[in-house]
């Protein structure tokens, strides 16, 4: 399995899910991620799993809810408009503490938008999207290879914390082909899912997702979840540092944008610019300490996104006003070019 093959992003996610032990997939077609469904409709039955095309995104996420409550590894995928429909179910999954993997190969919005790549679902993924005090673990891959390793990790983290994990990609990552190697997922052992409902079978019955009408009791539930999110923030931050370790300007970008920023760092180097890049791999938990440290060292930060300024808010919260944070973004499916970003960098540095 260690040989290098050329694979499309969406298919790589689907195969990686199967290798991570995903037994069921529920989805609804939407561009630019439908290849995930198509691949799994063929592949899951081969390994004794279940593929079911749901009547809606709403139904799909609730089928995920039922399968996860049964103790299975389960996934759904969609793009912006469909992920919006799933938000109700996502909120319920978090409070019932049901693990699952949700893939968003996001596209231009708002509304129907278009099918070009975009990062304008950052707020939706990281700040809630659904109702109530909750967090998703959000992973932001930047290459097809990373779609594989982060899909593996997503299933592990979901089970480890009994929490939904969202993989936030975009149409470009989903549609592009790159050479990849399928490595075996290797993670520490996880506790058994003794909370799963499987019929009483002679033991005390189990209930998933209780009604909590009393304010004090619900506050306790929310505080318990909050402690879990703090634990995730402490343990699971992932980022990639690239370029100069002592930069004059710190660049911050995730996913597809970070690929372009690497070109900016290399091109800047040729012009004598010392540029550093932090690429958050986990968007929640956010690598705020590392960004804060390098930002203070550099004295200036430029955040680049394929939206009109979403992650930049978390960068500003990380540096707490100590360092000026600039922003450059394209939206509606437009992809920023390295040239334009570099000229912005030169303006800021001079």
């Amino acid at each position: 399995m260690e040989k290098k093959i050329l694979m499309k992003g969406n298919e790589a996610i689907a195969e990686a899910a199967v290798q991570a032990g995903c037994q069921l997939y529920f989805g609804y077609p939407i561009t630019p991620q439908t290849e995930i469904s198509e691949y799994l409709s063929q592949r899951l039955p081969e390994v004794g799993g279940v593929f079911l095309q749901a009547e809606s995104e709403v139904a799909a996420i609730n089928m995920v809810y039922g399968a996860s409550a049964s103790g299975a590894r389960v996934m759904t995928s969609s793009s912006g408009p469909g992920i919006s429909l799933k938000q109700e179910g996502i909120s319920y999954l978090t409070v019932a503490e049901l693990p699952c993997v949700i893939v968003n190969m996001s596209r231009g919005g708002p509304g129907l938008g278009n099918i070009q790549p975009s990062q304008s679902d950052y707020f939706q993924a990281v700040k809630g999207g659904g109702h109530g005090d909750y967090k998703l673990i959000v992973l932001a891959p930047s290459s097809v290879q990373e779609l594989i390793t982060l899909t593996h990790r997503a299933f592990y983290l979901a089970d480890k914390y009994r929490n939904p994990v969202e993989i936030l990609g975009d149409g470009m990552l989903g549609q592009m082909m790159e050479p990849v190697v399928f490595t075996k997922p290797q993670f520490p052992p996880l506790p058994s899912k003794d909370w799963a409902i499987k019929g009483k079978n002679g033991r005390e019955r189990k209930v998933v997702g209780r009604l909590t009408l009393e304010a004090q009791a619900l506050e306790e539930v929310n505080l318990r979840l909050h402690r879990k999110y703090q634990e995730i923030q402490k343990n699971e931050v992932l980022f990639e540092a690239f370029g100069s370790p002592e930069p004059d300007l710190l660049l911050v970008g995730f996913g597809t944008t970070a690929r372009i920023l690497k070109t900016v760092v290399r091109e800047g180097e040729k012009k004598g610019l010392k540029l550093g890049l932090i690429r958050p791999i986990t968007l929640f938990p956010f690598p705020r300490d590392e960004i804060n440290r390098l930002a203070n060292q550099a004295g200036k930060v430029l955040v680049v996104e394929m939206n009109l300024g979403q992650m930049v808010e978390d960068v500003r919260l990380s540096v707490e006003g100590r360092v000026p944070v600039f922003f450059y973004g394209r939206t509606g499916g437009m992809i920023p070019t390295a040239e334009t970003i570099l000229s912005r960098v030169e303006q800021i540095v001079s």
Partner: protein, 250 residues
């Protein structure tokens, strides 16, 4: 001495918390009796809804999953597809199953999903205080149809069993009421047939249970039973609406 009547084992030993004259408690007791008789308490998983029906998990001693409003058939689908050897049922009110959850129940039926749904139709949104439901009958006054339901503004009462009877995957559909002992016995037979339909792998099954809501109808329990028999049953006729023999997915 022979025991001729006792509390079903699957009914948790605590008093029902439903309003006086409500038939949720009766319906849940009958479901518990059938689960006992079929001996399936160890492999049954219930899926709760949102609304007064949600409290079922506090009274039936089986594994339960509680989810979002109207989505129980999708959740039940996820459970059944993961655990085909289990008996999975949803228990839903009319707002849950016939308004916000219409898509989920229709497609579960159409797929012939091997689940059973028990549908409590009391012609109002109960938990929120008696608003108009899709099943509110014509001229019925509710807090959101204060002059009575009229078709021009509010459309017509939804006959869910008849709608689902158009789905090829529906193997057993029945409408029952619990207003007298004879009807209770018929209802119990229907609930058993629904679960047997699932156990035998014959397709989707649903039992609609007409139930009074004296609190929100503004009636005494006896008046509510009388109103149900006089006004609801003519529009929602009792009986088996679809019975298909054979194995759907064979």
């Amino acid at each position: 001495m022979a025991v001729v009547f006792e509390r079903p084992k699957t009914l948790i030993k605590k008093p029902f918390t439903y309003c006086p004259g409500c038939h949720h408690g009766l319906a849940q007791r009958i479901i518990a009796e059938v689960i006992d008789e079929l001996g399936i308490e160890n492999k049954t998983i219930g899926v709760g809804p949102v609304g007064c029906s949600v409290y079922i998990y506090q009274f039936l001693d089986t594994d339960f999953v509680m989810g979002a409003h109207g989505r129980a058939p999708a959740i039940a689908t996820g459970i059944k597809r993961t655990q085909p050897d289990k008996i999975v049922f949803s228990y839903q009110g009319d707002g849950d199953i016939a308004a916000i959850g219409t898509a989920e129940i229709l497609h579960a039926a159409n797929r012939g999903e091997l689940i059973s749904s028990f549908f409590i139709n009391n012609a109002v949104f109960g938990m929120t205080g008696g608003q108009m439901a899709p099943t509110t009958i014509l001229k019925q006054k509710t807090t959101t149809s204060p002059k009575g339901r009229e078709p021009k503004s509010h459309g017509f009462p939804l006959q869910l069993c008849e709608v689902l009877s158009a789905c090829q995957g529906s193997a057993y559909l029945s409408r029952v009421a619990l207003t007298n002992p004879k009807l209770i016995n018929q209802a119990k037979r229907s609930i058993k047939k629904a679960l047997l339909t699932q156990i035998e792998g014959r397709g989707f099954s649903l039992v609609e249970i007409l139930s009074p809501c004296p609190t929100n109808w503004g009636m005494s329990p006896q008046e509510a039973v009388d109103w149900l028999e006089k006004e609801m049953i003519p529009y929602y006729p009792l009986g088996e609406i679809a019975v298909k023999e054979g194995i759907l997915h064979a």
